[in-house]
Amino acid sequence: MSLQATTSQTVGPFFKIGFEWLYRDSLAAEGVSGTRVTIQGRVLDGDGIPVSDAMLEIWQANAHGKYAHPEDTQDKPLEPGFKGYGRVPTSADGRFRFATIKPGRVAGPDGNPQAPHLLVAVFMRGMLRRLVTRIYFPDEPGNAADLILNLVEPARRSTLIAKNTAGDPGTLEWNVVLQGADETVFFDLGL
């Protein structure tokens, strides 16, 4: 017997009531190995107006490139104190910020390692289905050969790569631009 997946609906403007208990803006406990990094940015709508009622969910591997999930059978260690999940809302001025560690490289379906990346799902009022995108890291030699980045037209790849911030080496900037010339690349996973 085959069923059909339930229809997605918007989170609406009041999701804080349901989601706040699990807000996690710090993904890696003390002692977790890996390079510490803070990622911050804004969510902007088609008029460039900051979106104050969005929520981002993050999913990532640990510094060894291993996901805390049974489907990951790579022979790499797990990290106690690191599950790889984050959930952050945007503030009144559309800003979000979370602290984590830079993930290692995870095997890709072509047998080559993927460049370090975070998966991001974006929810907000007005969004009937979540948006799915990725954050890659600047100055990362693996980006050039990354299977997924190479499926994106070259002119738009930069929307997926976080930028260094001047004078703050531990902080990266990455924005979600919903429409326009700098529109972020979103991925089609079917849903």
Partner: protein
């Protein structure tokens, strides 16, 4: 490429497009470029999991979170979480949130002129059991006006958020109540083209879970995406 059993693409029309102009908030927020199709990698096939202990036993009873009971009609909302292959999804986190009986959310942005209820927060969590079943005790949420168009009213609904086994299975949806006269006029309900698919968002009244003298029962099953039976050559 390595053989990977992908998650099935939705049947045409059973999931909303990002742009649905009758829902005005989608106009400036829906991306204008088509999403880039990508193959499944370990990143999308894995996903967050949670220890059942993070959910307090009381978290599934929204009528017992304060010193007294909330006002409104007490209801039981229960159902199963299955995948498209009809397999129960055990041990998955279900989060809900909703308005109170007067149609008011406990949220700073909600300015609807209806009373807050000091005994109702409107937030609950549960973890599915081995059969994929969940159960909440709550009160029936009220309908409320919103500013989408002239004389716009949202039908009574409860927001549902589910994870499932992978990043790819994550779903946020809304459950509606049978017989609600506002449903056919709601642009959010109507955002899905396929009539049968959107009607599955309407729960069914259920005698079996109705508790005599206490609460009416409503059933709402949630189907998360299933995987192809056979691995696909990428």
């Amino acid at each position: 490429m390595k053989r990977v059993a992908a998650y099935r693409a939705p049947y045409p029309g059973t999931q909303p497009n990002h742009l649905h102009p009758p829902y005005v908030s989608s106009i400036k927020r829906a991306p204008t470029r088509p999403p880039v199709p990508i193959p499944y990698t370990l990143s999308e096939l894995t996903g967050p999991s949670f220890e059942p202990e993070i959910v307090a036993p009381k978290a599934s009873d929204l009528t017992r979170q304060h010193s007294a009971e909330p006002l409104g009609e007490r209801i039981i909302v229960s159902g199963r979480v299955l995948d498209e292959n009809n397999r129960p999804l055990a041990n998955t986190l279900v989060e809900i949130w909703q308005a109170n009986a007067a149609g008011r959310y406990l949220h700073a942005v909600d300015q609807h002129d209806a009373p807050l209820d000091p005994n109702f927060t409107g937030c609950g969590q549960a973890v599915t059991d081995a059969e994929g079943s969940y159960r909440f005790v709550t009160i029936r949420p009220g309908e409320y006006p919103w500013r989408n168009h002239y004389n716009a009213w949202r039908p009574a609904h409860i927001h549902f958020s589910l994870f499932g086994p992978a990043f790819a299975t994550r779903l946020v949806t809304q459950m509606y109540f049978p017989g609600d006269p506002l449903i056919p006029f709601d642009p959010i309900f109507n955002c899905t083209a396929d009539e049968k698919a959107r009607n599955r968002l309407i729960s069914s009244f259920d005698w079996e879970t109705t508790m005599p003298g206490l609460a009416l029962g409503y059933r709402f099953n949630v189907i998360l995406r299933g995987r192809d039976a056979t691995p696909m050559e990428e």
